[in-house]
């Protein structure tokens, strides 16, 4: 019996050491990507090309999801608020929920599953088919040429996608509550304008989405670059990208919210 306990503890220890070690490798890789980002700045067209794949091609899912999330918020908000006769505050509810929380978080979750997984799979497959080795043998550094442009394209497109998500959500809320249900348009917009603060709400939401952009793409490029060069390896890495970055987004969101809205009533 004690033997089993000992081996159980050893097992836990192994896993902890392994995950800490992996975190260290990931951090070193992240520093390496930053260090080798010079090429991305000098040849910005490499980043622009990736912006198309990570940003522009993610637009459709972001726009549609934003619209529906805003419409649902409008419906639910109206249902509850009308009981207290304050249905005109539904604009405030929709805007604040979107700009502070749902915009950055849901857009980042969608981004992780749409663009993050694609980045991991692409880099992983390039590794598995020896394209990265071939590049390295041609005296071209794959981290500078392949990884860094993808990283920066994700960092740039994430806040923009989150902003578009929030805008579409507000529009969805407007459609449902003002156009379909008939809430007064003037009070919908003016209450929203009164209560949404640029510094506290919009800027904080923007800062959050920047953090999420860095986290998601850093995880995606690391998992791709680190993937075992087999079909199983790449599929496992793609799954890990989605799971790890979703957890990272939610964890980071809590920490950032705790710091940002501390003492703000």
């Amino acid at each position: 019996m004690p033997k089993r306990i000992v081996s159980g503890i050893q097992n836990i220890g192994h896993r902890v050491i392994e995950s800490v070690w992996r975190l260290g490798v990931a951090s070193r890789f992240f520093m390496l990507v930053l260090f080798k980002s010079g090429t991305s700045v000098r040849r910005f067209n490499l980043v622009i090309r990736e912006l198309y794949f990570t940003g522009v091609l993610s637009l459709i899912i972001i726009v549609v999801s934003g619209l529906f999330v805003g419409m649902v918020l409008g419906l639910q908000g109206y249902e509850t608020l009308q009981k207290y006769g304050s249905e005109s505050a539904v604009g405030t509810l929709v805007a604040l929920s979107l700009v502070r929380e749902l915009g950055p978080v849901v857009a980042a979750l969608l981004f992780a599953s749409r663009a993050g997984s694609a980045i991991t799979a692409e880099i992983g497959l390039m590794k598995a088919t020896e394209q990265l080795s071939a590049m390295s043998m041609m005296a071209v550094d794959p981290v500078a040429r392949v990884v860094a442009p993808r990283f920066w394209s994700g960092v740039i497109s994430m806040p923009l996608l989150a902003a578009i998500f929030s805008v579409m959500g507000v529009f969805g809320g407007y459609l449902v509550t003002v156009v379909f249900i008939g809430v007064d348009e003037g009070s919908f917009w003016s209450q929203m304008q009164d209560s949404v603060d640029f510094r506290f709400d919009i800027m904080n939401g923007f800062i959050k989405s920047c953090y999420f952009g860095v986290a998601v793409t850093a995880i995606a490029v690391f998992e791709g670059y680190d993937a075992p060069p087999t079909a199983e390896g790449v599929s496992g890495a793609t799954t890990r990208t989605v799971v790890t970055s979703s957890l990272a987004i939610l964890g980071l969101d809590f920490i950032l919210t705790a710091f940002m809205f501390r003492g703000v009533s």
Partner: protein, 270 residues
């Protein structure tokens, strides 16, 4: 002597952890020759190419390329040296997001400041040399295996390297593509004055085109010689390898305890 040899390998050892892959390899490779490195799967042939390219470092010994010890070079100097080397990977390793044209132009765009019009001419010339000028607009997924390998060959000669290393260039090709690739290796080596190292286990095809052969088995050079010497060789390993015999110095059976013991027949017989 030194100026004639592009590559000199001396006392080269390499191990992954405690597993020794190469044990004391000595080789010289003359300029302008096609050299084959043969051996069974897992005998350390590809490892040798990676050591020459400086992708991994030897445990001891050295590889000297054009007078420079490869593993002693700093990163920048190593990258500079690699511009003089080309490598053809087993399945071509073409960049799947770039067209055939852009694949061949890749190194020119990365390493030179040539105007686009000149790059265009050079790329078409390289593609013409492998017979695929007409395919310059295709994407890698539209090519057959043999065509992809020819494009990769055009890409590896893009900057007129001094050395090209071919990692299993004949694997999985039909007989026509096989002899096309074989002849291209020979012709390009002669026309461009390069040196070629072909890692392969396709004995018949490679003996037609190479100048010298090294056999590697268990991490050491088991035999070497010109194709003529190799064909005549009576050394058991070479004979088994060249003629593809099932059993010999390389046994058919993986080491195991006695067959009778495994089937529990020893006690029952009595």
């Amino acid at each position: 002597m030194t100026s004639e040899n592009l590559i000199e390998i001396s006392g080269l050892n390499f191990s992954y952890g405690t597993r020794a892959i190469l044990k004391g390899i000595d080789m010289t490779m003359q300029r302008g020759k096609v050299i084959a490195i043969m051996g069974g799967s897992g005998s350390g042939k590809t490892t040798l190419l990676r050591l020459i390219g400086g992708v991994i470092e030897p445990t001891s010994g050295y590889v000297k390329f054009a007078g420079q010890v490869v593993h002693e070079l700093e990163r920048d100097a190593l990258f500079k040296l690699r511009r003089k080397m080309g490598m053809l990977f087993q399945f071509g390793a073409l960049f799947t997001d770039l067209s055939v044209f852009d694949n061949v132009a890749f190194q020119m765009r990365e390493h030179t400041n040539l105007p686009e019009s000149m790059i265009r001419d050079l790329v078409l010339m390289k593609l013409h040399a492998v017979g695929l000028r007409g395919a310059h607009h295709l994407m890698p997924n539209q090519l057959s295996g043999g065509m992809a390998r020819r494009v990769a060959l055009a890409r590896s000669i893009a900057l007129d390297p001094m050395l090209i290393m071919y990692d299993e260039p004949f694997t999985g090709l039909d007989p026509i593509s096989l002899s096309v690739i074989g002849n291209l290796i020979r012709r390009l080596t002669d026309a461009l004055g390069m040196t070629s190292i072909v890692v392969t286990h396709d004995v018949q095809e490679s003996l037609k085109i190479v100048d010298y052969v090294y056999f590697i088995a268990d991490g050491v050079i088991a035999a070497e010689g010109t194709p003529h010497e190799v064909r005549k060789s009576v050394a058991p390993f070479v004979h088994q390898f060249v003629h593809g015999e099932e059993d010999g110095p390389v046994p058919f059976h993986y080491p195991a305890q006695s067959y009778q013991k495994d089937l529990n027949l020893e006690n029952t017989r009595a």
